[in-house]
Amino acid sequence: MEKIKIFLIVLCSILVVSCESNTYSEVSGQTSNPTYEANIKPIITSNCTSCHYGTNQFPNLETYSGVRSACLVNNLVCRIEGEDCGIRMPQGGKLPQPNIDLIKLWVSNGFVEK
Protein backbone atom coordinates (compact mmCIF):
# COMPACT_ATOMS: atom_id res chain seq x y z
CA MET A 1 0.00 0.00 0.00
CA GLU A 2 2.66 2.46 1.11
CA LYS A 3 4.85 1.34 -1.79
CA ILE A 4 2.06 1.87 -4.33
CA LYS A 5 1.52 5.36 -2.98
CA ILE A 6 5.19 6.26 -3.24
CA PHE A 7 5.43 4.71 -6.70
CA LEU A 8 2.42 6.73 -7.89
CA ILE A 9 3.70 9.98 -6.45
CA VAL A 10 7.12 9.46 -8.03
CA LEU A 11 5.59 8.46 -11.37
CA CYS A 12 3.31 11.48 -11.44
CA SER A 13 6.05 13.90 -10.54
CA ILE A 14 8.33 12.44 -13.21
CA LEU A 15 5.56 12.80 -15.80
CA VAL A 16 4.98 16.39 -14.75
CA VAL A 17 8.57 17.53 -14.90
CA SER A 18 9.88 15.40 -17.74
CA CYS A 19 7.74 16.78 -20.53
CA GLU A 20 8.71 19.98 -22.24
CA SER A 21 5.93 22.23 -23.43
CA ASN A 22 5.36 23.55 -26.91
CA THR A 23 3.19 26.39 -28.10
CA TYR A 24 0.56 25.84 -30.78
CA SER A 25 2.62 27.91 -33.24
CA GLU A 26 5.63 25.65 -32.69
CA VAL A 27 3.70 22.55 -33.74
CA SER A 28 1.74 24.28 -36.53
CA GLY A 29 2.85 24.21 -40.14
CA GLN A 30 3.76 27.58 -41.65
CA THR A 31 2.15 28.65 -44.91
CA SER A 32 1.55 31.98 -46.61
CA ASN A 33 -1.15 30.67 -48.93
CA PRO A 34 -3.58 28.49 -46.95
CA THR A 35 -6.19 26.56 -48.94
CA TYR A 36 -9.55 25.21 -47.78
CA GLU A 37 -8.68 21.61 -48.56
CA ALA A 38 -5.22 21.56 -47.00
CA ASN A 39 -5.50 23.94 -44.05
CA ILE A 40 -8.97 25.23 -43.23
CA LYS A 41 -11.05 22.08 -43.52
CA PRO A 42 -9.04 20.18 -40.84
CA ILE A 43 -9.47 23.07 -38.37
CA ILE A 44 -13.21 23.29 -39.03
CA THR A 45 -13.67 19.51 -38.87
CA SER A 46 -11.97 19.09 -35.50
CA ASN A 47 -13.49 22.17 -33.86
CA CYS A 48 -16.83 23.04 -35.47
CA THR A 49 -18.63 20.28 -37.34
CA SER A 50 -19.44 18.19 -34.27
CA CYS A 51 -22.28 20.73 -33.85
CA HIS A 52 -22.42 22.57 -37.18
CA TYR A 53 -23.42 19.59 -39.32
CA GLY A 54 -26.51 19.08 -41.47
CA THR A 55 -29.35 21.15 -40.10
CA ASN A 56 -28.33 20.53 -36.46
CA GLN A 57 -26.81 23.90 -35.79
CA PHE A 58 -26.82 26.84 -38.19
CA PRO A 59 -24.64 27.55 -40.15
CA ASN A 60 -23.59 24.26 -41.71
CA LEU A 61 -19.79 24.19 -41.86
CA GLU A 62 -19.28 20.86 -43.60
CA THR A 63 -18.56 22.24 -47.08
CA TYR A 64 -16.35 24.83 -48.71
CA SER A 65 -19.34 26.97 -49.69
CA GLY A 66 -20.80 26.66 -46.19
CA VAL A 67 -17.61 27.91 -44.51
CA ARG A 68 -17.13 30.65 -47.10
CA SER A 69 -20.65 31.94 -46.67
CA ALA A 70 -20.36 31.74 -42.86
CA CYS A 71 -17.31 34.00 -43.13
CA LEU A 72 -19.03 36.43 -45.50
CA VAL A 73 -22.51 36.54 -43.99
CA ASN A 74 -22.46 35.08 -40.47
CA ASN A 75 -19.43 36.76 -38.84
CA LEU A 76 -17.43 33.52 -38.51
CA VAL A 77 -14.14 35.36 -37.97
CA CYS A 78 -15.69 37.76 -35.47
CA ARG A 79 -17.27 34.86 -33.54
CA ILE A 80 -13.99 32.95 -33.16
CA GLU A 81 -11.96 36.06 -32.32
CA GLY A 82 -13.98 37.59 -29.52
CA GLU A 83 -17.39 38.33 -28.08
CA ASP A 84 -18.33 41.40 -30.12
CA CYS A 85 -20.79 39.51 -32.35
CA GLY A 86 -22.18 37.02 -29.83
CA ILE A 87 -20.73 34.33 -27.58
CA ARG A 88 -17.33 33.06 -28.62
CA MET A 89 -17.09 29.98 -30.78
CA PRO A 90 -16.23 27.20 -30.37
CA GLN A 91 -17.83 26.53 -27.00
CA GLY A 92 -15.49 25.21 -24.37
CA GLY A 93 -12.50 27.38 -25.22
CA LYS A 94 -10.87 29.78 -27.63
CA LEU A 95 -9.26 28.38 -30.78
CA PRO A 96 -5.47 28.55 -30.56
CA GLN A 97 -4.27 31.87 -32.00
CA PRO A 98 -2.35 30.33 -34.98
CA ASN A 99 -5.62 28.73 -36.21
CA ILE A 100 -7.46 32.05 -36.02
CA ASP A 101 -4.60 33.79 -37.82
CA LEU A 102 -4.64 31.13 -40.55
CA ILE A 103 -8.41 31.47 -41.12
CA LYS A 104 -8.06 35.27 -41.29
CA LEU A 105 -5.24 34.92 -43.81
CA TRP A 106 -7.36 32.52 -45.87
CA VAL A 107 -10.25 35.03 -45.85
CA SER A 108 -8.07 37.96 -46.86
CA ASN A 109 -6.44 35.86 -49.62
CA GLY A 110 -9.89 35.34 -51.13
CA PHE A 111 -11.04 31.87 -49.95
CA VAL A 112 -8.67 29.70 -52.00
CA GLU A 113 -10.29 26.26 -52.29
CA LYS A 114 -7.46 23.95 -53.43
Binding site: M1, K5, L8, L15, C19, T23, Y24, N99
Partner: protein, 287 residues
Protein backbone atom coordinates in the same frame (compact mmCIF):
# COMPACT_ATOMS: atom_id res chain seq x y z
CA UNK B 1 -22.42 -40.79 43.50
CA UNK B 2 -18.85 -39.65 43.11
CA UNK B 3 -19.25 -39.41 39.41
CA UNK B 4 -22.33 -37.16 39.81
CA UNK B 5 -20.48 -34.91 42.23
CA UNK B 6 -17.48 -34.58 39.93
CA UNK B 7 -19.69 -33.85 36.91
CA UNK B 8 -21.70 -31.16 38.73
CA UNK B 9 -18.50 -29.60 40.04
CA UNK B 10 -17.03 -29.53 36.52
CA UNK B 11 -20.22 -28.03 35.14
CA UNK B 12 -20.25 -25.37 37.83
CA UNK B 13 -16.62 -24.52 37.24
CA UNK B 14 -17.05 -24.31 33.49
CA UNK B 15 -20.03 -21.95 33.88
CA UNK B 16 -18.04 -19.69 36.15
CA UNK B 17 -15.08 -19.94 33.78
CA UNK B 18 -17.21 -18.99 30.79
CA UNK B 19 -18.78 -16.08 32.62
CA UNK B 20 -15.42 -14.74 33.65
CA UNK B 21 -14.11 -15.21 30.10
CA UNK B 22 -17.04 -13.15 28.83
CA UNK B 23 -16.25 -10.48 31.36
CA UNK B 24 -12.69 -10.45 30.11
CA UNK B 25 -13.77 -9.99 26.49
CA UNK B 26 -16.16 -7.21 27.42
CA UNK B 27 -13.42 -5.60 29.47
CA UNK B 28 -11.08 -5.82 26.51
CA UNK B 29 -13.63 -4.12 24.29
CA UNK B 30 -14.18 -1.43 26.87
CA UNK B 31 -10.51 -0.80 27.35
CA UNK B 32 -9.40 -0.98 23.72
CA UNK B 33 -12.07 1.24 22.20
CA UNK B 34 -11.29 4.61 23.72
CA UNK B 35 -7.59 4.24 22.99
CA UNK B 36 -8.16 4.32 19.19
CA UNK B 37 -8.76 7.66 17.62
CA UNK B 38 -12.00 7.61 15.70
CA UNK B 39 -11.75 8.65 12.08
CA UNK B 40 -14.19 11.36 11.03
CA UNK B 41 -16.14 10.04 8.10
CA UNK B 42 -17.95 11.64 5.19
CA UNK B 43 -16.72 15.21 5.08
CA UNK B 44 -18.36 15.10 1.66
CA UNK B 45 -21.07 12.83 0.28
CA UNK B 46 -19.90 12.91 -3.32
CA UNK B 47 -16.52 12.26 -4.90
CA UNK B 48 -16.76 15.77 -6.30
CA UNK B 49 -17.79 19.05 -4.70
CA UNK B 50 -19.09 20.49 -7.99
CA UNK B 51 -16.25 20.26 -10.50
CA UNK B 52 -13.46 19.91 -7.96
CA UNK B 53 -12.65 16.62 -6.28
CA UNK B 54 -13.65 16.14 -2.67
CA UNK B 55 -11.57 14.12 -0.18
CA UNK B 56 -13.93 11.15 -0.45
CA UNK B 57 -12.54 8.00 -2.03
CA UNK B 58 -14.13 4.84 -3.37
CA UNK B 59 -13.97 1.99 -0.85
CA UNK B 60 -11.98 -1.16 -1.60
CA UNK B 61 -13.49 -3.13 -4.46
CA UNK B 62 -16.14 -0.53 -5.23
CA UNK B 63 -16.89 0.53 -8.76
CA UNK B 64 -18.28 3.97 -9.40
CA UNK B 65 -19.78 4.71 -12.78
CA UNK B 66 -19.83 8.41 -13.52
CA UNK B 67 -21.98 10.25 -16.03
CA UNK B 68 -21.74 14.02 -16.19
CA UNK B 69 -23.37 16.54 -18.46
CA UNK B 70 -22.76 20.23 -18.88
CA UNK B 71 -25.28 21.96 -21.07
CA UNK B 72 -24.61 25.03 -23.19
CA UNK B 73 -24.78 28.65 -22.18
CA UNK B 74 -27.76 29.10 -19.88
CA UNK B 75 -27.92 32.84 -20.48
CA UNK B 76 -28.86 32.43 -24.15
CA UNK B 77 -32.36 31.52 -23.06
CA UNK B 78 -34.77 29.99 -25.56
CA UNK B 79 -32.26 30.31 -28.44
CA UNK B 80 -30.64 27.07 -27.31
CA UNK B 81 -33.35 26.10 -24.81
CA UNK B 82 -31.26 27.28 -21.86
CA UNK B 83 -28.26 25.32 -23.10
CA UNK B 84 -29.90 21.95 -23.51
CA UNK B 85 -29.12 21.95 -27.24
CA UNK B 86 -25.36 22.07 -26.71
CA UNK B 87 -24.49 19.42 -24.17
CA UNK B 88 -21.06 18.06 -23.27
CA UNK B 89 -20.91 14.57 -21.83
CA UNK B 90 -18.35 12.86 -19.64
CA UNK B 91 -18.56 9.17 -18.98
CA UNK B 92 -16.17 7.17 -16.87
CA UNK B 93 -15.46 4.71 -14.10
CA UNK B 94 -13.57 4.79 -10.83
CA UNK B 95 -12.31 1.70 -9.00
CA UNK B 96 -11.19 1.43 -5.40
CA UNK B 97 -8.03 -0.71 -5.31
CA UNK B 98 -7.82 -0.25 -1.56
CA UNK B 99 -9.74 1.98 0.84
CA UNK B 100 -7.01 4.57 0.42
CA UNK B 101 -6.28 4.35 -3.30
CA UNK B 102 -8.56 4.56 -6.30
CA UNK B 103 -7.99 4.97 -10.00
CA UNK B 104 -10.27 6.23 -12.73
CA UNK B 105 -10.66 6.67 -16.45
CA UNK B 106 -13.11 8.96 -18.21
CA UNK B 107 -13.74 10.47 -21.59
CA UNK B 108 -15.41 13.76 -22.39
CA UNK B 109 -16.85 15.38 -25.50
CA UNK B 110 -14.78 18.55 -25.59
CA UNK B 111 -11.50 17.86 -27.45
CA UNK B 112 -12.25 14.11 -27.07
CA UNK B 113 -10.17 14.11 -23.91
CA UNK B 114 -9.40 10.92 -21.99
CA UNK B 115 -8.59 11.56 -18.36
CA UNK B 116 -6.66 9.10 -16.20
CA UNK B 117 -6.85 9.74 -12.48
CA UNK B 118 -5.32 8.48 -9.25
CA UNK B 119 -6.58 9.46 -5.82
CA UNK B 120 -4.86 8.42 -2.60
CA UNK B 121 -5.47 9.21 1.04
CA UNK B 122 -2.45 10.45 2.90
CA UNK B 123 -4.05 11.17 6.30
CA UNK B 124 -7.55 11.07 7.78
CA UNK B 125 -9.20 13.54 10.11
CA UNK B 126 -9.63 12.10 13.62
CA UNK B 127 -11.93 12.97 16.48
CA UNK B 128 -9.73 14.71 19.05
CA UNK B 129 -6.72 13.95 16.86
CA UNK B 130 -5.40 14.94 13.47
CA UNK B 131 -7.45 17.97 12.38
CA UNK B 132 -7.79 17.46 8.61
CA UNK B 133 -8.07 14.84 5.89
CA UNK B 134 -5.28 15.02 3.32
CA UNK B 135 -5.72 13.38 -0.08
CA UNK B 136 -3.50 13.46 -3.14
CA UNK B 137 -5.03 13.56 -6.59
CA UNK B 138 -3.38 13.36 -9.99
CA UNK B 139 -4.90 13.58 -13.42
CA UNK B 140 -3.44 13.05 -16.86
CA UNK B 141 -5.32 14.19 -19.94
CA UNK B 142 -4.88 12.78 -23.41
CA UNK B 143 -6.30 15.13 -26.03
CA UNK B 144 -7.26 12.92 -28.98
CA UNK B 145 -8.79 15.74 -31.00
CA UNK B 146 -5.45 17.26 -32.03
CA UNK B 147 -4.74 16.41 -35.64
CA UNK B 148 -1.44 16.26 -37.49
CA UNK B 149 -3.28 17.77 -40.48
CA UNK B 150 -3.42 21.02 -38.52
CA UNK B 151 -0.26 20.55 -36.47
CA UNK B 152 2.32 18.71 -38.61
CA UNK B 153 4.99 18.97 -35.90
CA UNK B 154 2.77 17.44 -33.24
CA UNK B 155 4.24 14.69 -31.08
CA UNK B 156 2.37 12.37 -28.75
CA UNK B 157 3.51 14.14 -25.59
CA UNK B 158 1.90 17.36 -26.87
CA UNK B 159 -1.45 15.67 -26.30
CA UNK B 160 -0.82 15.35 -22.57
CA UNK B 161 -1.67 17.70 -19.72
CA UNK B 162 -1.50 17.10 -15.98
CA UNK B 163 -2.80 18.30 -12.67
CA UNK B 164 -1.26 17.51 -9.30
CA UNK B 165 -3.57 18.32 -6.42
CA UNK B 166 -3.38 18.21 -2.65
CA UNK B 167 -6.87 18.13 -1.21
CA UNK B 168 -7.12 19.18 2.42
CA UNK B 169 -10.56 19.03 4.01
CA UNK B 170 -12.02 19.46 7.46
CA UNK B 171 -15.42 18.40 8.69
CA UNK B 172 -16.29 21.20 11.09
CA UNK B 173 -19.67 19.82 12.12
CA UNK B 174 -22.20 17.28 10.91
CA UNK B 175 -23.48 19.89 8.52
CA UNK B 176 -20.48 21.91 7.42
CA UNK B 177 -17.26 20.78 5.73
CA UNK B 178 -14.66 22.84 3.88
CA UNK B 179 -11.73 22.07 1.62
CA UNK B 180 -8.67 23.87 0.33
CA UNK B 181 -6.67 22.49 -2.56
CA UNK B 182 -3.40 23.74 -4.00
CA UNK B 183 -3.30 22.61 -7.64
CA UNK B 184 -0.42 22.56 -10.09
CA UNK B 185 -1.26 22.35 -13.79
CA UNK B 186 1.18 21.48 -16.52
CA UNK B 187 0.29 21.55 -20.22
CA UNK B 188 2.50 20.13 -22.93
CA UNK B 189 0.75 22.27 -25.50
CA UNK B 190 -0.51 25.76 -24.79
CA UNK B 191 -1.48 29.08 -26.35
CA UNK B 192 0.74 31.76 -24.79
CA UNK B 193 -1.77 34.50 -25.67
CA UNK B 194 -4.29 33.14 -23.16
CA UNK B 195 -2.72 30.51 -20.88
CA UNK B 196 0.48 29.31 -19.21
CA UNK B 197 2.29 26.01 -19.59
CA UNK B 198 2.67 25.83 -15.79
CA UNK B 199 -0.19 27.27 -13.78
CA UNK B 200 -0.66 27.29 -10.03
CA UNK B 201 -4.20 27.42 -8.67
CA UNK B 202 -5.69 27.57 -5.18
CA UNK B 203 -9.04 25.80 -5.05
CA UNK B 204 -11.51 26.15 -2.22
CA UNK B 205 -14.79 24.40 -1.62
CA UNK B 206 -17.41 23.70 0.98
CA UNK B 207 -20.64 21.88 1.62
CA UNK B 208 -23.51 22.63 3.92
CA UNK B 209 -26.01 19.88 4.67
CA UNK B 210 -29.60 21.02 4.47
CA UNK B 211 -31.26 17.69 5.25
CA UNK B 212 -30.10 14.10 5.53
CA UNK B 213 -30.15 13.64 1.76
CA UNK B 214 -29.60 17.15 0.53
CA UNK B 215 -26.60 19.46 0.69
CA UNK B 216 -25.57 22.68 -0.99
CA UNK B 217 -22.01 23.00 -2.31
CA UNK B 218 -19.84 25.91 -3.35
CA UNK B 219 -16.39 26.05 -4.94
CA UNK B 220 -14.02 28.75 -6.10
CA UNK B 221 -10.56 28.41 -7.61
CA UNK B 222 -8.15 31.31 -8.01
CA UNK B 223 -5.46 31.13 -10.68
CA UNK B 224 -2.25 32.62 -9.37
CA UNK B 225 -0.57 35.06 -11.76
CA UNK B 226 -2.58 33.97 -14.81
CA UNK B 227 -1.98 35.87 -18.08
CA UNK B 228 -4.39 38.76 -18.40
CA UNK B 229 -7.12 38.19 -21.00
CA UNK B 230 -10.88 38.17 -21.23
CA UNK B 231 -11.12 34.58 -22.43
CA UNK B 232 -10.60 32.52 -19.27
CA UNK B 233 -11.79 33.24 -15.75
CA UNK B 234 -11.48 31.83 -12.24
CA UNK B 235 -13.75 28.88 -11.54
CA UNK B 236 -16.88 29.51 -9.50
CA UNK B 237 -19.60 26.88 -9.10
CA UNK B 238 -22.57 26.25 -6.90
CA UNK B 239 -24.24 22.86 -6.62
CA UNK B 240 -26.82 20.76 -4.91
CA UNK B 241 -26.19 17.14 -3.83
CA UNK B 242 -29.16 14.81 -3.79
CA UNK B 243 -28.52 11.38 -2.34
CA UNK B 244 -30.83 8.57 -3.29
CA UNK B 245 -30.15 4.90 -2.54
CA UNK B 246 -26.98 3.94 -4.43
CA UNK B 247 -26.94 7.15 -6.46
CA UNK B 248 -25.38 10.50 -5.79
CA UNK B 249 -26.92 13.14 -7.97
CA UNK B 250 -25.23 16.52 -8.14
CA UNK B 251 -26.79 19.51 -9.83
CA UNK B 252 -24.19 22.08 -10.84
CA UNK B 253 -24.22 25.68 -11.98
CA UNK B 254 -20.75 26.73 -13.08
CA UNK B 255 -18.85 29.14 -15.29
CA UNK B 256 -16.94 26.15 -16.69
CA UNK B 257 -18.52 23.90 -19.29
CA UNK B 258 -15.68 21.44 -19.69
CA UNK B 259 -15.18 18.65 -17.16
CA UNK B 260 -11.50 17.65 -17.16
CA UNK B 261 -9.59 19.13 -14.22
CA UNK B 262 -6.96 20.88 -16.37
CA UNK B 263 -9.66 22.94 -18.10
CA UNK B 264 -11.80 23.30 -14.97
CA UNK B 265 -9.02 25.06 -13.10
CA UNK B 266 -7.43 27.05 -15.93
CA UNK B 267 -9.81 27.30 -18.89
CA UNK B 268 -13.22 28.27 -17.51
CA UNK B 269 -14.76 30.37 -20.27
CA UNK B 270 -17.86 31.67 -18.49
CA UNK B 271 -18.30 34.55 -16.13
CA UNK B 272 -20.85 35.03 -13.33
CA UNK B 273 -21.14 38.78 -13.76
CA UNK B 274 -22.46 39.16 -17.28
CA UNK B 275 -21.00 36.11 -19.03
CA UNK B 276 -21.89 32.51 -19.76
CA UNK B 277 -23.17 30.17 -17.06
CA UNK B 278 -23.56 26.46 -17.59
CA UNK B 279 -25.97 24.09 -15.94
CA UNK B 280 -25.27 20.40 -15.64
CA UNK B 281 -25.13 17.40 -13.36
CA UNK B 282 -22.84 14.66 -12.10
CA UNK B 283 -24.40 11.27 -11.57
CA UNK B 284 -22.55 8.59 -9.61
CA UNK B 285 -23.73 5.02 -9.35
CA UNK B 286 -21.97 2.67 -6.95
CA UNK B 287 -21.58 -1.01 -7.70
Amino acid sequence: MNVKLILSLMFGLSVIGQASAQDDLLKQLDTVKPKEKQVEIAAFKGLQICNMQSTKLAAKGEWYVLISHRFGDLTEGLDNFFGLDDAYTKIGAIYGITNGLSVGLSRQTNNKIYELTAKYRIKSQEENGFPVTVVGYNTMDINTNLSTDIYPNLEFNNRLAYTTQLLVSRKFSDRFSAEIAPVFIHKNLYDPTTERDNQFVIGTGGRYKLTKRLSVNLEYAARIDAPENDVYHDLLSVGLDIETGGHIFQLVFSNCQTMNDVYVFSNATGKWNGGSIYFGFNLYRVF
